[in-house]
Amino acid sequence: MKDVTFGQYYPSHSFVHKMNPAIKILLTIAYIVGVFLVSGDNYYAGFLACVVFVLIATITARVPIFRVLKSIKAIIFFVLLSAILQIFFNKDGTPLWENGFITDKALIASGFIALRIILVVMGASLLTLTTSPVEIADGTEVLLAPLKLVKFPVHEFALIMSIALRFIPTLLEETDRIIKAQQARGAEFEGGIFKKAKAMIPVLIPLLIGSFRRADELADAMDSRCYSGSKNRTKYKKMGLTYRDAISFIITGGLVAGVVLLNGVVIL
């Protein structure tokens, strides 16, 4: 159980790590939109631009490329499935051989579908590799700020997110402990799915009760320090914008603009 790590944050002091998380999230979304916009006659160039972009981002983030590629492993089934479906059901273009059911265009299309998914996942995992969960929560708070206008409790939402993230390792540790305690009492966690589910009850109930106890304690601790998510609350770590954010903004903007221009027609 101890081997389970949540998220995949790769600590470093790189350019990308030091970016403002809100900007990073925003630019990742822009990049993903860019990847999906690639189409038209010049799609080769569009995809090439995206690949180059992701590689440059990986290098400047000083994250080993295999860590980024590792995230693809989890979705490889999904990638293959969409590629294979494309091969079999796309009837455009000319058959590769006489009376064959696989066409040249289908083959190319399936390749690009796979590439598209891989590129999107690489971008997203680059975000989680370079941004700690707490930073992501902070960034989300900033990005959701406009929702305050419609009375959405953005600050509370972000707080819930960071508390949840904070307690994941604690809960894993607790789970490990309870499993061991029940194993010492002869519980077995092997066997069929039904047996396994039943065996989890003596683990889940103490875990649930423990979480309520913790939540209570945390609420008391916050109360006793007069916590309130009021308007005038200031931040301990202020995250301003730096030249890094400006440069990244321009490069990503350039990528998206380039992709749109390469398409020939503006789809937006």
Partner: protein, 287 residues
């Protein structure tokens, strides 16, 4: 059941970032002993004792653990049978309670280990276990474990461990968070068990008074190494060493030390009774 540990090592983490928790430990705990394990936080105590019932498996080429007739390095070792014989009480055992009633919770371990017992036999053993830990069986059996007080919860949890009548009982910080009365009652419970079916008690604690007062022998761990094994007297004799290990002296050893500075030599086994007898002897008084 004798516990025999030979050259045991254990390391956490991946290949690159190995952290040795336990390093080349050889230790023998005889049947019938009241054995203490002490050490600074992170010295590997918990890792060591969790080997004893196979909760942590012996790593490859990292030594041997033999408990009675069970060879824990053997792939075919019957861990369930072993765990019935080696009971383990974790720190804050009350956090492992889960069933709707005290009866059901205590029954959990018994049913896992001995599914062939009849309902009547089970009830008898559950009753015995609940009464052994000092609770009123009839009053408590239908109650939810979650409506009990902290001390009662802990007793129920311990009943849930001893119900399978382990020969070896391993306890990790069992008195943490107990008030003085609770502590005293707990210690007498341990002695009662020790006189009954539990043959060997292995206790991990930061409470040196508890260790000095009750243990026949003590093992000291420091940074994963076994640095000393012996009677409390042998272990706590050297004040400088004890501080080096990140431990403190039990009160009796501390007083012995202070009185020695005043020129009074007391020879005792560091139990309170032994200390008083030693003091009277040193003063030349009659008993």
């Amino acid at each position: 059941m004798q516990v025999k540990i030979e050259n045991l090592s254990y390391s956490y983490g991946s290949k690159k970032l190995k952290v040795k928790a336990v390093n080349d430990i050889c230790l023998e705990i005889k049947e019938g002993e009241f054995f203490g394990v002490v050490g600074h936080t992170g010295s590997g105590k918990s890792t060591l004792i969790q080997h004893l019932n196979g909760l942590i498996k012996v790593q490859k080429d990292s030594g041997k653990v033999i408990v009675g007739e069970y060879d824990l390095t053997d792939k075919k070792c019957d861990f369930k049978g072993l765990r019935a014989k080696v009971g383990m009480v974790f720190q804050y055992p009350e956090y492992q309670l889960f069933a709707e009633t005290v009866f059901e919770d205590v029954k959990f371990g018994l049913k896992n280990f001995y599914p062939n017992l009849t309902e009547k036999e089970m009830e008898e053993r559950i009753k015995k276990a609940v009464e052994t830990v000092g609770l009123d069986y009839e009053k408590i059996k239908e109650k939810s474990p979650f409506e009990l007080s902290g001390g009662q919860k802990r007793r129920v949890a311990i009943a849930g461990v001893i119900v399978s009548r382990p020969e070896v009982l391993v306890l990790d910080e069992p008195v943490a968070g107990l008030d003085p009365t609770g502590k005293r009652e707990f210690v007498s419970l341990l002695h009662a068990l020790h006189n009954d079916f539990v043959k060997t008690i292995i206790i991990v604690s930061h409470d040196m008074n508890l260790i000095a007062e009750n243990c026949d022998r003590v093992a000291v761990l420091n940074k994963g190494n076994l640095v000393k094994v012996g009677t409390p007297k042998e272990v706590f004799m050297d004040k400088v060493k004890v501080e080096e290990w990140g431990l403190e002296l039990p009160s009796t050893a501390y007083l012995t030390e202070k009185l020695r500075e005043k020129g009074i030599e007391i020879d005792s086994d560091l139990t309170i009774k032994g200390f008083i007898d030693g003091y009277i002897r040193a003063k030349g008084g009659e008993k």
